[in-house]
Symmetry: none
Subunit: 237 residues, 4 copies
Amino acid sequence: MADGDSYAPSHSLEKQFEAFRTELEESGTLRERIRSVVSEIESTTRVMYATLLLVHQSRSISELLEKAKSQIVVLKEKYKQLAQILGGCSGQYYRYYGDWRSETQSVVSILTFIHWLETGSLLEHKEAEEKLGLNNSEFGLDVEDYLIGVCFMSNELPRYVVNQVTAGDYDCPRKVLKFLTDLHAAFRLLNLRNDFLRKKFDGMKYDLRKVEEVYYDVKIRGLTPNGESVGDKGIEG
Amino acid sequence: MADGDSYAPSHSLEKQFEAFRTELEESGTLRERIRSVVSEIESTTRVMYATLLLVHQSRSISELLEKAKSQIVVLKEKYKQLAQILGGCSGQYYRYYGDWRSETQSVVSILTFIHWLETGSLLEHKEAEEKLGLNNSEFGLDVEDYLIGVCFMSNELPRYVVNQVTAGDYDCPRKVLKFLTDLHAAFRLLNLRNDFLRKKFDGMKYDLRKVEEVYYDVKIRGLTPNGESVGDKGIEG
Amino acid sequence: MADGDSYAPSHSLEKQFEAFRTELEESGTLRERIRSVVSEIESTTRVMYATLLLVHQSRSISELLEKAKSQIVVLKEKYKQLAQILGGCSGQYYRYYGDWRSETQSVVSILTFIHWLETGSLLEHKEAEEKLGLNNSEFGLDVEDYLIGVCFMSNELPRYVVNQVTAGDYDCPRKVLKFLTDLHAAFRLLNLRNDFLRKKFDGMKYDLRKVEEVYYDVKIRGLTPNGESVGDKGIEG
Amino acid sequence: MADGDSYAPSHSLEKQFEAFRTELEESGTLRERIRSVVSEIESTTRVMYATLLLVHQSRSISELLEKAKSQIVVLKEKYKQLAQILGGCSGQYYRYYGDWRSETQSVVSILTFIHWLETGSLLEHKEAEEKLGLNNSEFGLDVEDYLIGVCFMSNELPRYVVNQVTAGDYDCPRKVLKFLTDLHAAFRLLNLRNDFLRKKFDGMKYDLRKVEEVYYDVKIRGLTPNGESVGDKGIEG
């Protein structure tokens, strides 16, 4: 070891650590600003979800959809704020990314559920980005997060089908089953690693199974619209 | 829900998911390439560390240092490869960042230990970046990782002091104590959040305490070079 | 303790550990080769399973079966490769065995499902071994793995029955119920320890129960081919 | 699906499962026999270890060593029994292997500790096999288990050194330190995977550090035999 007296005097050390402190505090502040916006995204999605849940108790859903959709502009504004906060440190998008991933997945599950209720089809990735004002180049919607959100959305469908049938919509199971079957087949095209997305996708088959059982129930009772009567309609176990 | 028949035919779904598959596979491949480079970094550092450990059994360390330093170019080359791999996807540095963080911290702990053995001073952040060919703009050495690596390095010092004294270098404790005291004070300037870095820093005080005890041992026995005997002068607290 | 100077000089120690390194690296390499083959088995079964899942949406299954069966030769080839890799270290079959157990169980579940779809009967252990080119003496199909695979296969049956009835095959539940009842009774002959196999077998009763319920549904509605109406004949418990 | 009536009658199923029952019961019985022998190995090692622990309170260890060594023949006999039990199912050594691995590791740690106490050197793998009557071809001592046992043995050394110094043997730390340093260096030659062995080896450095500190203590007080007096021997903090 060199002679202890020869080494860098501690004020140079201090000078260096002063710089570290500044840098650490900047990233700390940045993180706090991100967190506050993310918590607003989180509460907005909670409100939207609470509204959407009412579809399980009602058949006239256009009103609910309007109410839920009115919040999308709020979300868009929040993501704009996030982009602005990160504007200063370009290229560091993924550095702080983990701080809003799961919230974004919830946002996607709600947007896709709304879109599906309206059109019966899957909201595409690009469409979701547009709704949230995300452009893939700088500050986009990660494909994995989009797909995870879609899986979350599929978890809503079994309950929806059950309640729709209860409310007397006997054709719903067929439509949902077709949608879920196509979606499940599409996911099968992906060569998923053993990660979170794969786990979520594996869960989708339970949604599929449950919807199949509901379709089975209406079918075996001849309750389907094209109503071929099978067996004794009178019997409801 | 809209009429099931109206929704996007599954081939459009397929088309979209084909695109996802491509994108997921690309990032998967990228990740594998990163992993293989990182594992080379890891094995290189293991070799360097195994060499450095011999300082605990020897006083003529210049040879060991040369041997260890000869590996730095290898590390530099590996980081260059990482930068090239990520060159394609600029701005996504932090996306895959987690895959080499802990290995980089080990690298820093070894570089700073080597530098300290040579000069008795702390290898600065910029110097570490230069040695590894990292330039902060695009692909740099994260300050937190640098600081965590420095904490790991300090963990080596108590053992080093003990073995140096055993080998008869009674002045070593004083030098190490001064270095560690300055370093500990410098860290105190940082306003650390409750994270991994803070935990590592908290551990540093045990290194400091141990070195103080060794210094006390040599001091109380008047073994320090300027050999003032305890009896008459006593220990400066 | 004997005098420290008398003990084996470290070069003898080195010599010994060099030998260990060689041995450990050999088994490490062997393990890697096994893993790569096993991962190919795993992806092949995933493809087969994805194909078979379509039986839940279709009644004309002969095509799906052909497509799935075309992969069996691939599996056979992979097991041949495993046997060759282990050829060098005879008698060490069970040493590396754990590396492909669960994959083999999946393989069995698929083979037995295919066979059942074709014949309505259980693919026997010996038949499974033949299909995979495994001969019990050297490199065989462990009975426990075969039985666990059979349990996995039974988990597919409830869903199959539900979808077949939905598709209008009202005789399916009776056939499946007879098969599952026999299978469950056969398992009861085994004196199972409290291990994984027992746990899987315990799960089989839920498959049985579900199929019974579907059979009940078609029966109570007089949907069975020989169509005796519930009203007059009642259900045979 | 083929006509349910065409499929194999359940008595063929029964016949097959009868065969499984026999096979499962045989392996079950085999396992029980193994377990009972292993539990005897375990209790024998416990007795030996209890005897050896007394070295921490005594300096005349030859008697303890004789007492402990007298049990080795018992262990040898037990391993012979294990080999006989497995004789029937040759090549299935590794199938039941997991049932006595950890016990064998303890056996190795005790044999190596005894040998080290007698000779100050490491009991070689081959020597250990001879003592236990294991011949590598059919029924041997796995290298990993040997190495893990050696790691366990090293865990005893710090305590041993502390108590030897307390009992007045001031040369012990030097000898142990040389042994442990050589052993640690030898292990470094191995390219260990991230498994149990690596974890055990990583622990060895704490043994090394502790022994270094004890050596430091005796050295700084000039208590080493070649007794160069350093500082004031009178002071014992």
